[in-house]
Symmetry: C2
Subunit: 254 residues, 2 copies
């Protein structure tokens, strides 16, 4: 097995740049659990791992296999706590049609900016059985290493698509489009249909005006106690989770 | 008004170190919104801001006031996108008694390690009207700059206490202690009392065995669809939010 060269280390680190990821059409995943979860789902271009990891995973398939010392791995790693294995996978083609929205619940993200938030949303979508996430063109790159790590493997099952959200939503007929707003209807008092699109907005600005105009069901996540004057809000991943949980509760336990 | 000296910039940056924060008993907050939200609640030791910010906030009280160029602020800042103001506040004394647990709902965090997760939990506790969070002694420092930024001001209202959780929970009588487990009872089918302690565990290991033995109500957050085989889990802040939302839903809309 080949050793991990200095050039290869440099190449791995360059995948932190969106431009390089786009050109190379790869993404980075680190750690035995995550790499193991992704191997059956994505074409693996490169694995760099310690000889201990290789001893237990000799059968694993990848275009290139490299053995590395912990020091070399920590030079290649983008994590604070480097792991004994990291891998580069090929980005799958982004194939979808509006049919992905037929009869099931999907998410739409209107300019979510934080890679950790996007990864956490992918992870929770996986938990709540949501297969498709539509991202506006300004949403952070799903293949950012921080996003991939935060999905905890959810990226293997949840499909993430980039598209002009305004155009997509504008083209829909008979599909409920949900969004959360301070002046929306209390989601606990609304019968929530189990199909349609749940739109979540940017961390600072929320849902844009253009998209807001296309929302058919404005919902509100009540805070507590109700009479309290608040200036607070919820983090976008937290709000997404609380809304998805309520949709699924109504489906199964109402 | 004094300019922001090189030594002061170095001092501000040193607050990223837990050791220094502990010795100095201060914490850092950045950005006009967050600094503005915290000023009425904490004693302010230092504000460094652009002359533009000072023009609109001349009346603000702080032990030291410094005017700085955007370049100087970006040297002092721990953020990727430095803001026009940052401030050092005094850490309040950690005063609490088991009475904080009487008749209301509180959170307990068993070794939560990620500063962003802790900050997000404080923010959502604020939203759901939870005033006290008890942290195990190995939980990440609440005064980490990343935590403070993620609270989005929630730190002004939510009180965070560090203590030996095992000892605290062991000393409680007639207080329900909740925790989420894969073999817990479906939380949507359990009547949830509106007082007691909700324990959330470490990102990797969950709730420790010692604490698990003290849980009186094991709950489960159902995934969807129910019959699905899953190896997934939820991020700890996400799980906290979904559980707190369900407690409050049952209080107000059941």
């Amino acid at each position: 097995m080949m050793p991990l060269s200095k050039n290869k280390i440099k190449y791995i680190r360059s995948i932190d740049q969106k431009k390089t990821r786009k050109e190379e059409r790869v993404f980075l995943a680190e750690g035995p659990k995550l790499v193991g979860d992704l191997l059956p789902h994505f074409h693996c271009k490169l694995i760099a791992a310690t000889s201990e990891w290789w001893q237990e995973n000799a059968q694993v398939k990848a275009d290139e296999k490299a053995v590395a010392t912990p020091e070399e791995l920590s030079r290649a790693s983008l994590l604070k706590t480097p792991q004994q294995v990291l891998a580069l996978f090929e980005q799958p083609a982004d194939e979808w049609s509006a049919n992905c929205l037929k009869g099931s619940l999907a998410l739409a993200l209107d300019d979510v900016q934080d890679p950790g938030n996007l990864g956490t949303i992918i992870r929770l979508a996986d938990w709540f059985g949501i297969e498709h996430i539509f991202c506006s063109l300004n949403t952070v790159d799903v293949y950012s290493p921080k996003t991939i790590q935060a999905t905890m493997g959810g990226i293997a099952r949840v499909k993430v698509h980039y598209t002009d959200l305004q155009e997509l939503i504008g083209s829909l007929t008979d599909v409920p489009v949900f969004g959360t707003f301070l002046d929306g209807a209390n989601m606990y008092e609304e019968p929530l249909e189990q199909h349609g699109l749940i739109v979540m907005g940017n961390e600072g600005k929320g849902i844009s005006r253009e998209i807001e105009a296309l929302i058919t069901h404005k919902l509100y996540i009540p805070n507590y106690p109700l009479e309290r004057e608040t200036s607070e809000s919820l983090n976008v991943a937290i709000a997404t989770a609380v809304v998805c949980a309520e949709f699924r509760r109504q489906a199964a336990w109402k």
